[in-house]
């Protein structure tokens, strides 16, 4: 007797199989039909390994009016995620073992996804002094990804030292690439539209120059480096060059940079204000191609909830950021599957296998095979949904009103069904 039997699911490779789960584990994938306490008829559904987000802002501790670890975890589960990396820009900042352990513990008690804390690179995200990286790595939270996200580790010496230091525990620095002097007061992509709207420009070169520097630094010290939310065609070229050269660099792209452009700023509606900013259609196309050809390794949401008052104001006064957890899978499907340019196997790579590998998560991102931890997301690829609300505590959702393909029907997190028939479980896994 198994706990859960998923019948007739379409695997990423296109084969149809039954997946049996006992406890936290997948026990068989194939034609077997063991007796089960619960059965999910997955005919027509695509089974993917549970999604892993390398870039989520859960806002707790400190900004619970925007999101809590519980509400963010629920939104993640609804989006098909079974693990999220919680970014460090909380208050207090996740720059000590104590704070990262607290975040991890709150994730466990929420019980909807693995909450994996990201550690700050520098104390207080201030870019002056390294945070206690090894202490965070050795803590119960076992931090492996370090980032000052929201701020760039701009000082080249500090960046070099961070890249070197985290080698001791095979960590990785995830860089928010933004040259600060080139982006003082920046509001949107610098280009034709910013010129017209009179909004201070955020030039592509401010991102590209940091990426170029950091891949060269990573090469020099023999470290790996991860680039957060790549947003320009030029950044793609630099990462492609670096990979060809054998530099150990990985890169992420957000759903919004794959779908939306700076044309939306014409409305002066701050729901479209994000950092790095929405770019041009040419950039969107370059990012999509890079996701298909492997230059970009993963989709990461940069889910960034904000309260209404932070967006319901003039553009310049508004906060940067937008929601993303519950549309990421649809954007992946649109870009990789509906486009005809790639396939579900690539969706599994960019949303699960690769981010888990970058974050060194051994119990996430595994292929759907017997023996793997039962993190499974079942998608109805034929669904069309018009985006409306979400499970996030915040409403800064730029996708509202758009129709996107696919919907998450079931999410199984460590054998526990966090989403069943599109409905979020009332409580998490205990």
């Amino acid at each position: 007797m198994v706990d859960l039997l998923i019948t007739n699911a379409t695997l990423p490779n296109g084969l149809v199989a039954n997946i049996a789960v006992a406890g936290e584990q997948i026990v068989s994938v194939g034609s077997e039909t063991p007796a089960a306490k619960t059965t999910i008829d997955a005919k027509g559904l695509v089974a993917l390994p549970g999604f892993v987000d390398l870039h989520t802002h859960l806002r707790e501790p400190g900004f619970e009016q925007s999101e809590t670890i519980l509400t963010g975890s629920q939104s993640a589960a609804a989006g098909g995620f079974t693990a999220v990396h919680a970014m460090a820009n909380t208050s207090p900042v996740q720059d000590t073992a104590g704070v990262v352990e607290q975040v991890q513990a709150l994730g466990v008690s929420a019980g909807y996804v693995d909450v994996v804390p990201v550690g700050a690179v520098t104390v207080g995200l201030e870019g002056k002094q390294l945070a206690e990286l090894a202490a965070m790595a050795d803590s119960r939270a076992r931090v492996r990804v370090f980032s000052d996200d929201g701020k760039c580790v701009h000082d080249p010496v500090l960046m070099r030292r961070a890249l070197e230091y985290v080698k001791a525990f095979n960590g990785v620095v995830a860089q928010h690439a933004q040259e600060p002097r080139l982006t003082e007061g920046a509001q949107m992509n610098e280009g034709k539209i910013s010129a017209e709207l009179g909004l201070a420009g955020w030039p592509a070169v401010a991102e590209e120059s940091i990426i170029a520097r950091d891949v060269l630094l990573a090469e020099h010290v023999g470290s790996r480096v991860h680039i957060c939310h790549l947003s320009t065609a030029g950044s793609v070229e630099i990462v492609r060059w670096a990979k060809n050269r054998g530099i150990n660099v990985t890169a992420e792209v957000t759903p919004h940079h794959l779908l939306l452009t700076d044309e939306l700023a014409r409305s002066y509606n701050a729901v479209y204000k994000v950092n790095p900013p929405l770019r041009t259609q040419e950039d969107v196309l370059a990012l999509r191609a890079a996701l298909v050809d492997g230059t970009i390794d993963i989709i990461a949401t940069d889910h960034a909830p904000h309260p209404i008052e932070s967006k319901d104001c003039e553009w310049q006064a508004a906060a940067f950021g937008m929601l993303g957890l519950e549309i990421a899978a649809s954007v992946a499907q649109e870009v990789l599957v509906e486009s005809g340019n790639s396939n579900w196997q690539r969706v599994a790579e960019v949303l699960s296998h690769n981010p888990a590998e970058i974050g060194l998560l051994t119990e996430q991102g595994q292929a759907l095979d017997a023996g793997a931890v039962a993190n499974i997301t079942l998608i109805d690829p034929t669904a069309k949904r018009t985006i409306d609300g979400s499970h996030s505590k915040s409403t800064n959702n730029p996708y509202r009103g758009l129709t996107l393909p696919g919907s998450v029907v079931h999410t199984i997190y460590r054998g526990y069904q966090t989403v069943a028939n599109g409905e979020l479980a009332k409580s998490g896994r205990s």
Binding site: E190, E314, W315
Partner: protein, 322 residues
């Protein structure tokens, strides 16, 4: 005349509606030269001048226009940004709505603030953009166009555009709402626009702009032979931000001085939106020359703003004395 609800950008005006506004401004100008400079047109209407930035000139120009049309006028000075002062644009707007404002004239440091006000649903009245950040200042463009048209066509101005005229806009184009609004309106009215600026003070990508961009003032004056030269104000905060090496160099290379004045066509207009930095973008000799239209621009500003208020707020289109 198109059905204008707000005036947020010069782009809101097509050629016919822009000329109609200028024609109404001509009539208003007639009122402004009477002994009793007052019309009953907006009696019972409440107009709020909502100024988040100091601008005495623009505010009193609007205030005078409103009073000459018999509107009830409220000046609301809300200095400081929404975040730092606690009261948000939204709260301010909803407060004005609750008080029954028929129109709000807004000056704000953030680009797009007038657009946000107009499309937020916070307030139902007409919104007039009196300058939003580095975006636009459409009534300034209208008064500039009015001034050029009048100097060019005199009493035969009514019904005319600015067809065939060459206008040079000189200085900090990048940060200038005056330049953006003028660029759009001058093109709409048929003028040929030339922008003259150091390369640091034009947008990095101005590829879509309907204007020729010049990096040499003297060459531009010689080759274009402009009918009007609009000098832009250099804001103090640009002076130490490496946009140009020094005030002296700026003044020498990009300023309007006696020599450049002498190089203009005899009747060419020398314009400035005010307040001028005498000795920086314009020398006293040039500012006080017969070519200068600075004071006419001020007077015309009242007429043009009366025309805008009239168009947005008066229900029926009878005669202006109606």
């Amino acid at each position: 005349m198109s059905n204008l609800q707000h005036l947020l950008s010069s782009a809101d005006l097509d050629r016919d509606s822009a000329i109609a506004l200028l024609d109404i401004a001509e009539e208003m100008s007639g009122v402004n030269s009477r002994d009793i400079k007052k019309l009953p047109t907006l009696r019972g209407k409440t107009v709020v001048n909502l100024f988040f930035e100091d601008s005495t000139r623009t505010r009193i120009s609007f205030e005078l226009a409103e009073k000459r049309l018999s509107a009830d006028v409220i000046n609301f000075s809300a200095k400081g940004s929404s975040v730092s002062k606690g009261e948000s644009l939204k709260d301010t707007a909803q407060t004005l709505e609750a008080m029954g404002a028929d129109a709000v004239v807004i000056r704000h440091g953030a680009s797009g603030a007038a657009n946000v006000l107009a499309h937020s649903g916070w307030i139902n009245g007409a919104i007039i953009n009196a300058g939003d950040g580095t975006h636009e200042h459409p009534t300034q463009a209208l008064l500039d166009a009015f001034t050029v048209r009048r100097r060019t066509h005199g009493s035969a101005s009514v019904g005319k555009g600015l067809d065939g005229l060459k206008i040079a806009i000189v200085g900090d184009v990048l940060h200038s709402r005056v330049a953006r609004s003028n660029l759009l309106l001058l093109n709409t009215l048929g003028a040929e626009v030339h922008l003259v600026a150091p390369p640091t003070l034009v947008p990095a990508d101005s590829g879509d702009w309907q204007a020729k961009i010049h990096f040499n003032f003297d060459d531009a004056l010689a080759s274009v032979r402009p009918d009007a030269v609009m000098m832009l104000r250099v804001q103090a905060e640009r002076m130490n931000a490496s946009y140009f090496p020094s005030e002296r160099e700026y003044s020498r290379i990009w300023g309007m001085n006696a020599e450049r004045l002498a190089a203009l066509k005899p009747n060419a207009l020398l314009m400035h939106p005010g307040p001028m930095n005498r000795g920086l973008e314009v020398t006293a000799v040039a500012a006080d020359s017969p070519n200068s239209t600075v004071l006419e621009q001020v007077a015309n500003g009242v007429s043009v703003r009366m025309a805008v208020l009239y168009q947005l707020l008066s229900g029926e289109r009878t005669s202006i004395d109606g």
